[in-house]
Amino acid sequence: MKNRLKVLRAERDWSQADLADRLEVSRQTVNALETGKYDPSLPLAFKIARLFGQSIESIFDDGEAA
């Protein structure tokens, strides 16, 4: 699934490890999320949305037309 995680992270000048610490996951999980190799669970998606102060739909794009 496409997402804006890398962009949002870069805006705050966070490394992948910094974001991983804030989300309480491993750095590899953050990397897998950013590269689309892994889709987050719903709780993790909500955690990401709250951390960046945005809606889940504005961060993640499943490619389906609204």
């Binding site: 490890a17 610490d21 309480e24 996951v25 750095r27 590899q28 999980t29 897998a32 892994y38």
Partner: protein
């Protein structure tokens, strides 16, 4: 005319290559030692069936990997590098203990795989009954410890690692239930020889290790 710029080899790639190199050296040294011990008459490798040889090999691989992980886990920087070759930051708290725990799981699994085969290598196809009973009791105990360690690893893992563990189990089940069914049907029809439970178990472990390695590579965990 422009010259194509080659992408430099990443640090993570060098680390992975170094780890594979270490593994290859240890593996080669182990094989040479085992061969020399066999030549010296300590045991006869030729008496091993294919599944005994596979079990011993898997035991060696898992035990060796586990020992390496435990040894590395006593250095935080080496642990961070081994766990995450692409990481650029300092090791995180708890990484060394988690890596040591995973090493203990692998080492124990390796010992459990190798122990019955070593017993028949040393004592022959039918080890003394008392020894066999004592060894089995030890393996039951080791299985319980292994289960507790695996549960602990599961509890400490994040959601991606848990999903990877669960998917590995599912893939192995679907793959092996099909293959074992076909073999069993061929066996009933008299078209294939019977397989022992040790044969099936070693095939299961080999497939599980291969699938979990592939899943870890695909998700960037290796």
């Amino acid at each position: 005319m422009t010259t194509a710029t080659r992408k430099p080899i990443s640090r993570g790639t060098w680390v992975r290559a170094a780890l594979m190199g270490v593994g290859a050296v240890i593996g080669a040294a182990t094989m040479i030692s085992v061969d020399r011990l066999s030549d010296a008459g300590l045991f006869d490798l030729a008496q091993l069936s294919w599944s005994h040889a596979l079990g011993l090999s898997l035991g060696g691989i898992m035990g060796g990997s586990g020992l390496f992980a435990i040894a590395v886990s006593f250095n935080a920087r080496l642990t961070a590098t081994a766990m995450d070759p692409d990481a650029k930051s300092a090791p995180r708290a708890g990484q060394t203990m988690f890596y040591r725990q995973q090493g203990a799981v692998m080492l124990l699994a390796g010992l459990m795989m190798a122990a019955p085969v070593i017993a028949i290598l040393v004592f022959g196809e039918t080890p003394p009954r008392g020894l066999a009973i004592a060894m089995l009791a030890g393996l039951v105990g080791a299985s319980l410890i292994q289960t507790m360690l695996n549960l602990s690893v599961w509890n400490r893992a994040d959601e991606m690692m848990r999903r990877m563990i669960a998917e590995t189990g599912s893939v192995c089940f679907w793959l092996l239930q099909g293959l074992f069914y076909l073999w069993a049907a061929a066996e009933v029809l008299g078209l294939a020889p019977a397989l022992s439970s040790w044969d099936l178990m070693t095939v299961l472990m080999a497939v599980y290790l291969a699938v979990s390695a592939g899943a870890a590579l695909q998700r960037g965990l290796a």
